[in-house]
């Protein structure tokens, strides 16, 4: 019984992390049909910016709870700067080009950002543990958990709900839906497609940054974290269906719970769980659990 509860809880905890990493990727694909390989770099950028800001803030000796604000602010600023810059300079010239070209442009961006971050932050790991330990712990089913982990579940939920509400309930959101459905007709209806793209990509970059900043207190922020993040995000999004936010949430839950079960019951296969689920889903539903089938154009 205890084991079942622990598996479920650990699974949801990990799913929250995965969802935060993947949400931005699926949003950008949904609107722009661009699979952003540099998404992991934006995630790392958020982790670095958030961690640095917390470290600076902790040095000033201000009230500790405000460090969470510093963490989030760092990520938002990083995303809000990098997002429009990348969209205007790199993506705009290639919207009409083939998929492979778009993939390669974001791949080049990934290579460039890896070194940009090295130049900005150096190679020593950035370490901040306080946001994780500060909130204390709670015992569930005889196992101690950090409140911060539970907070992550809440944040992931809130992010998911807010983003889908924003898309369904606001004017901008409806414009995004219109552009997603048909770019040319939206343009004739007077929607500024370019602006919608900039906004959507920036939103994706901010979400990626938030994911990085929120995971940063658990890990050591150092070169190499982007490569790991992008593979996980890809897997989750592919399982859920490219472009679907609900799909990303479901994909994250499936991967999270399966991995937690593997750790408890059969740790030998832990490393391969994500990939095995991905292949299994793709075999039966190649467009992912929530993916749409495109009509063939003649």
């Amino acid at each position: 019984m205890t084991v079942a509860v622990v598996i479920l809880l650990d699974g949801v905890l990990y799913a929250a992390v995965l969802f935060l990493v993947a949400a931005g990727l699926t949003l950008v694909y949904g609107v722009m049909r661009i699979l952003n390989i540099a998404h992991g770099s934006l995630y790392a950028l958020g982790a670095y910016a958030g961690t640095s800001l917390v470290l600076v803030y902790l040095k000033t000796g201000g009230p500790a709870p405000l460090m969470y604000l510093a963490l989030l602010a760092g990520a938002v600023v990083a995303g809000a700067i990098a997002g429009p810059l990348v969209e205007r300079l790199l993506l705009r010239p290639i919207y009409g080009r083939e998929e492979v070209v778009q993939l390669l442009v974001t791949y080049s961006l990934f290579l460039i950002l890896e070194d940009v971050m090295k130049l900005l932050w150096g190679v020593d790991p950035y370490y901040v543990a306080k946001p994780y330990a500060f909130l204390g712990t709670v015992t569930i089913a005889g196992v101690r958990y950090a409140w911060y982990q539970l907070l992550l579940i809440a944040v992931a939920l809130a992010t998911g709900v807010l983003v889908s509400l924003a898309i369904r309930g606001t004017r901008l959101g409806r414009m995004i839906v219109a552009v997603t459905a048909d770019r040319e007709i939206s343009a004739t209806l007077g929607i500024n497609v370019g602006r919608v793209y900039t906004l959507a990509f920036t939103a994706g970059a901010i979400l990626a940054g938030l994911g990085g900043a929120l995971v940063a207190p658990l890990i050591s922020v150092a070169p190499g974290i982007s490569v790991e993040a992008i593979v996980l995000a890809f897997a989750v999004v592919v399982i859920g269906g490219l472009g679907s936010l609900e799909g990303a949430a479901l994909g994250a839950l499936i991967v999270g719970i399966t991995r937690a079960a593997a750790v408890q019951l059969f740790p030998e296969i832990e490393l391969a769980t994500v990939y095995l689920i991905m292949v299994a889903v793709l075999l039966f539903r190649p467009r992912g659990l929530f993916g749409e089938w495109e009509t063939r154009r003649i």
Binding site: I94, V100, Y107, D115, A272, R287
Partner: protein, 322 residues
């Protein structure tokens, strides 16, 4: 037309003489570049059908690991036999996976390849008592047709071996490209449904291209394994596959020599980036790539084609005036 016929001969002369004048480490880079150009050729083949694979590293690994295992567990040393075995294994893997993958296009084709290659990567890591895990497998110097190369001439022999093994690959692609299947593949890229209306099975065309590309990928992995002397699971990691796509676009996928040119340019670009920008070599590669995509959509090979066109015009005008 004259340029078209002379080109392979000139290329053969240049590549045949290259190691006799180049210093040892450059010959090694050239060996690597020629070996990997076969993989780039495979990627380019698919690209011309409008398909991009972010997982062909798995065939690269399939070829290399077949050779590694046959050496480690089977005690085999003969390069020609090992190469044959490896290509066969990679082709078999592609034939099996192709049944599934050839049904997809666009981003799904790319992702499915990547997903499966990541599973291959995980398997190579996990079965570490068989594959050596991340430590990898050492590929010992093979015998070539029963002769063990001397240490002093080893690099030269490996270079020519690689070169000779590469020829049938380029020839096979050339033949495929000028066959009805090749024309159908080009048509698939433009409009798949029309191809079907003409009575050609698109699935069959893509399947054939996929199996050929898998076999070529395996060959590239084997040749790379022989020249490096050590293989690791990273061969199947998605960044390895990404690099091949990168090189295909760099060289220009629309021609047969493009992949070779791209592969050579890339190996040297990398080597000089390591040497002169040890701290920012990734950025150097990224910026080069962006420059090519934005300013030279046809890849490096278009430079030659542009020059050749100008040359022809110049010859024509010279003939007219003379």
């Amino acid at each position: 037309m004259r340029g078209g016929k002379a080109l392979p001969l000139v290329a053969a002369a240049v590549f045949g003489a290259a190691p006799l004048v180049l210093p040892g480490w450059v010959t090694f880079l050239l060996t690597l570049a020629v070996a990997k150009s076969v993989m780039v050729l495979a990627i380019a083949l698919l690209l011309r059908g409008g398909l991009v694979s972010f997982g062909h590293g798995m065939f690269f690994a399939a070829g290399a690991y077949t050779v590694g295992m046959a050496m480690k567990w089977g005690g085999m040393r003969e390069a020609v036999v090992l190469t044959f075995l490896g290509v066969l294994a990679a082709a078999a893997a592609a034939a099996l996976l192709g049944l599934l993958i050839a049904r997809y296009r666009g981003i799904f084709f790319a992702m499915l390849n990547m997903a499966i290659s990541m599973v291959v990567y995980a398997v190579l890591l996990k079965l570490y008592w068989v594959t050596g895990g991340t430590d990898g497998i050492g590929i010992r110097t093979p015998t070539i047709l029963g002769v063990m190369p001397e240490r002093e001439s080893l690099r030269l022999v490996m270079y020519y071996f690689t070169l000779v093994m590469t020829l049938p690959a380029f020839y096979a692609v050339h033949r495929f490209w000028t066959s009805p299947l090749g024309f159908a593949l080009r048509a698939v890229r433009d409009n798949e449904v029309r191809v079907e209306y003409m009575g050609t099975s698109v699935a069959r065309v893509i399947y054939a291209a996929y199996v050929l590309s898998g076999a070529l990928g395996g060959l590239a992995g084997i040749l790379t394994g022989f020249s490096v002397g050590h293989i690791v699971p990273d061969l199947a990691y998605w960044t390895t596959s990404g690099e091949f796509v990168f090189v295909a676009v760099l060289g220009g996928p629309a021609s047969i020599p493009g992949p070779l040119v791209g592969s050579i340019a890339f190996e040297f670009l990398k080597s000089y980036a390591y040497k002169y920008a040890a701290f920012t070599w990734q950025m150097t590669l990224g910026v080069t790539m962006l420059a090519i995509i934005l300013f030279m959509p046809g890849g490096l090979w278009t430079i030659y084609e542009g020059l050749a066109r100008q040359g022809r015009q110049w010859r024509l005008s010279w003939k007219r005036t003379g």
